[in-house]
Symmetry: C2
Subunit: 347 residues, 2 copies
Amino acid sequence: MIIPSHSRSRGKAVKIEDVAEKAGVSIMSVSRAMRDVEGISVKKREQIIKIARELGYYPNRVAVSLAASSSNLIGVSVPTLFGTVFTEIYIGMRKSFDKAGFSTIFDVTEYSKDREEAWVERLIAWRPAGIILSGIDHNESTVTKLTKARIPLLEIWDYTPNPLDLCVGVDHFDAGKKMGQYLVGLGYQTPGYVGVTAGLDTRADRRLEGLQYSFLEKSCPFHSIHRSNQAASFESGFQTTKKMVEASGRRPDVICYLNDNMAFGGLMYLERAGIDCPNEIGIVGYNGLNINSVSPKRITTSITPRVAMGEIAAQLLIAKILGANTETAMALKVTIEQGQTTKSQIA
Amino acid sequence: MIIPSHSRSRGKAVKIEDVAEKAGVSIMSVSRAMRDVEGISVKKREQIIKIARELGYYPNRVAVSLAASSSNLIGVSVPTLFGTVFTEIYIGMRKSFDKAGFSTIFDVTEYSKDREEAWVERLIAWRPAGIILSGIDHNESTVTKLTKARIPLLEIWDYTPNPLDLCVGVDHFDAGKKMGQYLVGLGYQTPGYVGVTAGLDTRADRRLEGLQYSFLEKSCPFHSIHRSNQAASFESGFQTTKKMVEASGRRPDVICYLNDNMAFGGLMYLERAGIDCPNEIGIVGYNGLNINSVSPKRITTSITPRVAMGEIAAQLLIAKILGANTETAMALKVTIEQGQTTKSQIA
DNA sequence: CTGTTAGCGCTTTCAT
DNA sequence: ATGAAAGCGCTAACAG
């Protein structure tokens, strides 16, 4: 969509020519002064800067980008802003991008690959310096467009050793495996899992596989796996735990949840049902979300380094943009935080 | 910061010239075909579109913007992404902007006016079609820059009858007043308030004034007002309520909180302290946050129309951008939602 | 150090 | 309906 020019400010914005005229120099001198590059005397530079400030001159980035065939724009796409995961990742990135003088063109896909693709298309038209996408799962045609555009690209949150370009994330299988080993070490033998419909959150699926791997090493399969077809929220955690506990069959001695929010819902259910946690059933979350700070009992969880991940990702992308030879894939470690919803560590 | 051009894609992107050549027409015909404007035969247009698609041609928006002195960029600034308020507002806006083909340059100020100003400066350099800022409180120098830039501007969340340009928000005094009247109607007489340090959240301060106004009409002043110097979170709600209840003096019969999160923390405290809510002390939140869905008792609250606010704001701004004569200030109504933390409605 | 000359990729304007 | 010329505001490349 093209905005009718009559609606924009008209011949008002101060331009490089105005500054040059007032300073009695050529526009090139102004250009050099503003960009702080060599080729101009200190004195003149100061004068020009002063005049530019007086006039309220800010170089038109659109013209700069066109002339220099470069931009300070970074495209950032996240699936959702609910739940603090991607917000924290974004906060981390913003820090690095801000410092380096980049602005971000933003998008929320609401987990729709088509929406992501539509946004990518519009984004590429702006010839951004770099792009950050969430996850490693995109439409094929999106990948084609991205590849053709040849813009530095970073996939965040998921980890894969073979990213399209760059990648910073956590290895979710490994995270699950580690937590599984930890729980096995605590003596748990009848694990249960509460999550959402398989395929909806592929990262969570991978974590479950990791959990299963560790428990299977001790010949303890997951007897009960209950999946909600709702979002991974407090409520679905509560309801799905209810179903699991009320179902016949062996009761789990520990329930692993897709995330802390669901775990919190589960904890609330156990409390209301009069089931002792952790003595009857243990509860384990994922992510280290801030719900934990208000939970009656701190939930045992794996903390993902979200802010750090954002910072590192941004720095890596910036390095690539600047032409450095960078690593292409980085896996960040998660930290297990022992809470009050699992048995105490066995000495 | 200028990105070295060697790092960008090189002469790869398809441009209008390539399409024109392949189609055997002038670049002007391609331009007209792509923009769907008059001055070209239907047949030629179709041919050109087809070739453009084959070649993967997407008009370079940087060049378009420079040539047409217009852009499809909207700057959006929010103070925080935690707490769902601004997230939901953003979701609402995104909907409208997306439909109209705008992209958003995004920023999170973390409640810093200086950060906001720094961002505004960088943003203006992109000559966006419009700007949305949160709240009505900005640095004077920010306002100057904004005014000089003459870009359609909309302030969201707060309401003022005299905005810089456009404004969509809720009247926080009025929201407090309404809730006060409601509580007075339920027979409460000894209200307390739990919030954060005065001045930190001016909107909350206004709501308290509204609450006080209503209670004073019945000669019931707020005897206890406790403010935390922490963020308005679960935890601070818990701790501050503890202090209030343990303090000597008349116990409040209802506590109004800055928001639902603090109210939830307060409720958790009452439950743990064995104080019956609502029979001993009532609890009232604000905003209608999703914490309510997991709360053991639904908290009585005022629901702010956040998604709708975002949608309306975006539409208003778009209208202004397109040159329409629009309203300048809109106040949206909040809805009181009766929960289980206040006495039942008196028939 | 300074200025001049060409563009960047597209649209506007004005011919035809 | 079509195209040629003239920019949009700035920087790269080259001259002095």
